[in-house]
Each structure stands twice: as C-alpha cells, then as structure tokens.
Symmetry: C2
Subunit: 238 residues, 2 copies
DNA sequence: TAGTGGTCTAGACCACTGG
DNA sequence: CAGTGGTCTAGACCACTAG
C-alpha cells in the first residue's frame, strides 16, 4: 500500500491539470464530494490530496465555495521541495558543468553526512540552470555513490535529477531542510551566473531526505534573484 | 466550532511542551492512541494536530516508532509563519523605529492591497530586531488602520505584533506567502543593521493572511544572514 | 509479537457562501 | 435554500519497528 496511496492518484491528477493549465488561476476545482464520486473514495482521502496541494501553494480553500487554483507567481518556488525542472516548467533548461567522485571530507554542505553515507564515496555534480536562456541558478549536489550505481548526471530522465532517482533507483524525495543566506558569489559561481562578484546572491543549502533511511541528497544553490526570486507559502492551523 | 476545534487544544498543548522543553529534542511524544485516550478524541483528530506540528517542523513521524521532537536549529526560521519573538525565543528583543499613517499608494510591499484595504488608511511601522544584542533584522510592516483601532506599535503584548493582533483585535494569522531575494541594503537599512552597504542582505517580502477575509499584514524583512540564516523544512507525500 | 504510525471507509453535524 | 468545505466519530486493515 505504501508506494501508491489512493490520495496520491488524486493529488497527481489535480496537480497535473493545474500545471498544464487545464485549471487556470482562479478556477474552482471539482468539489470534494464530486472528487469522492469520481475516484470512489471517501472525503478523508480526497481531503488528504487537497491538503497536500494546499500545503504546496497550488490551491487555497474557501469555506463554502471550494478549492481555488492559486497564482504561483513567476518565481523559482524552490522552497516547496520540488526540483527545478518541475517548478519552473517550460522555458527551463540546464547544463551539466561537471561530475566527480570524492570523499565526503572534501565537501561542505552545511549538514553532516550520516554514518551510512561515510561508508560510501560521494558523487558530486554541478549544474547550471537557465530560464528563458539566462542563467539563474547554479546547483552543486551530492549523493552517496553506493545507492546510485552507474550514476551519470549527464543522462537524467527528462533532465530531472529527482525523476531519475525515482525511475532508475526507486528513491523518492520525502522532504527537505533549507538554510538560506544572502552572500556574494565567489568567482566561479559569478561567472556561471554571468554576474559580477558584487551582485548579491541567494545562497541556499538544502538537505533532501529520501525514502532510503540514512541517505540524503545534499545541494547548495546559488540563485540570482534579481529577476526570479524564490517564493513560498504556508498555512497554519488548518 | 470554528474558533476552537479540538485538534487545536492538542496542538497547543504539545507545542507548548516542546517549546518549554518538557519534550526535548529526540523525545518521542505520546503515541496517537495514548493522545486519543487522554483527550477523548479519535485518531483523525489527534493526527490533525500532529500534522500541523510536523508541517511546522516541530516533530517528524517515524512509522512504527512514534512522533519525535525535531531539532529546530538556531536560526530565525521565519519561513514557517511565526513572528520573530516566537521563533527566536529568549535572547531576542526589538525596538520600534517609527510608526506612521499614510495611504497605500505610498507603500510598496510587492503585493497589491485588496479593495477593502484601499478603503482604509494604512499604518506603517518599522522595527529593528536583535538577537543577543546585535541587530539582525529590520522589519517594515503595514496593516489597514480600520481593523486595528487605537493601534500602537510601541505597546505590543509581550513585544509581539501577532500576539497583540490576537489578544486586542481577535485577528489570527492564518498563513503567509513569501518572496525572497538577495540584495544590497540601502543606506537607512544598512545603518539599522549596522553593516556596510556592500553587505548582502536577505530581502523577504511577506504577505500574511488573517482571519479577517480581505485583510492582510504586509511585511518587508531585511535580514543580515551572516550569523543567523533563515531555515525551513518541508515534508512531502506524508 | 505487540505497539506504532499510514491509509481508508462510511457516516455525521456544523459554518460558510451563493443564489 | 442547496452546496461547499471544516471538523469529528468509530471503526478497519496495513506496514513498519522493536523487544
């Protein structure tokens, strides 16, 4: 039951329809009861799917009206745990800058590697991200070699690291922790972002948890936020 | 039923015990069934409370083990919709820099005021935030005058804006949207943060939604992240 | 194995929004 | 008013964890 709960199917379908534009901003999704009938489930299950969408900022709920598609501004929206390709959508592309293999001691992601990870070598790779042809982000990522045999950052499914983890290695991303700073880019980052070393950069350290306990994906993001800022949304107390 | 759902009591009690240290980092909370008995509710209700805590990063759930108190690092952690005083806790203080009244047209928070808000004047105030005596954040906030009669930013309950909204005006914060950039501080901000104009600053624009439909709290934060970065955590797919 | 959290059913009553 | 989402009950079966 684990991999495919029913609410996931509903969540996936609705999200796909939102991202594809089948539901536009301001549109009201089918009511909870309608979805119950459509998917032959109870409201609890439908609401679980809608809760996820709401938590990720795709919709908001209006008591007595319905679930309404939100305007997720033109921004990178990274804080809701999705890869670059999935949040930015069309107009996005990326390029592999390098991939190498080294020991964890030589890396620094702001999080300590786990014991399990220290038993393995570390694969480090750097990607440059573009929106509409302009570089907006540089991402340095690391993952334990032993859980991704034959890993090649140049051959990602749909250009997505996370999709590749899922399809090739059955690894799912289950969450993230982020530490966010403003800083100045060092030379190599500045040139990859095509900005001067006096341009302030958003510096985000992320640790993604995976479905394999004790193993994480570490990323450091350098974002030029002058055109595309990050965005996020949260809701409290239901 | 609206103001005080049962899950809120459970949520409040657990959160209080976590913040006060009754449950330390790594501790396992009472099991869901135990909480059911203690509060005479069903698991659905208990889980709703735990879902909230998990979403705010206070605990994580370990299948087969329990709900475990998380380490919420020493950081400003603003991204989870709480005021400064509540997230930083002891060691935090703030100072009112100014408060004034003007029209919305003269403000710019990156979000458009609503029609309801435009019918009212706007109260603008600026606070300087300290951790351990050092300024780490400057916050410029705005709220519609008509929903907070007699407002005085110099006389907040416990020094907390949000607590004041709740206790004096029965206004609850129900969510937030944030836009995050890295930038250079202009002169006045730089001096309030006691940094040079060449120090990169985290620039966060926030719109908090309130329990009063159509009315928001707007804030612009300027953070010196060199010592206290922002942090956040997210979980996906349950 | 007993206990935990994860998912789900099939109901119920309520408060809110709209016509 | 009928329909919507918000909350809640009282069950159930499952997968995971630990002793």
């Amino acid at each position: 039951m684990n991999a495919n709960p029913k609410y996931r199917r509903i969540y996936d379908a609705l999200k796909k329809d939102i991202l594809s534009g089948n539901y536009a901003v301001g549109d009201i999704l089918p009511s909870e009861n309608t979805l119950c009938a459509e998917y032959s489930v109870t409201r609890t299950t439908v609401r679980k799917a809608l809760d996820e969408l709401e938590g990720e900022g795709y919709v908001y709920r209006h008591h007595g009206k319905g679930s309404i598609v939100k305007d997720r501004r033109k921004s990178l929206g990274l804080l809701s745990v999705k890869g670059f390709s999935e949040t930015v959508g069309s107009g996005a592309s990326s390029r592999l800058v390098y991939q190498q293999e080294l020991t964890w001691e030589m890396t620094s992601f702001g999080f300590e590697p786990t014991e399990k990870e220290l038993h393995s070598k570390c694969i480090l790779f750097c990607r440059q991200r573009f929106v509409e042809g302009a570089p907006v982000m540089v991402e340095v990522s690391a993952i334990a070699k032993e859980i991704v045999p034959g890993f090649d950052a140049g051959k990602f499914t749909d250009g997505s690291f996370f999709k590749t983890l899922s399809s090739n290695y059955l690894l799912e991303i289950t969450g993230s922790e982020q530490i966010i700073r403003a800083s100045m880019p060092e030379g190599s980052i500045a040139s990859l972002l095509e900005v001067g070393e006096d341009t302030p950069i958003l510096h985000v350290r992320v640790r993604y948890s995976t479905s394999k306990p004790g193993y994480y994906v570490y990323s450091t993001l350098y974002c030029n936020t002058s055109v595309y800022p990050l965005s996020s949304s949260h809701k409290v107390r239901s």
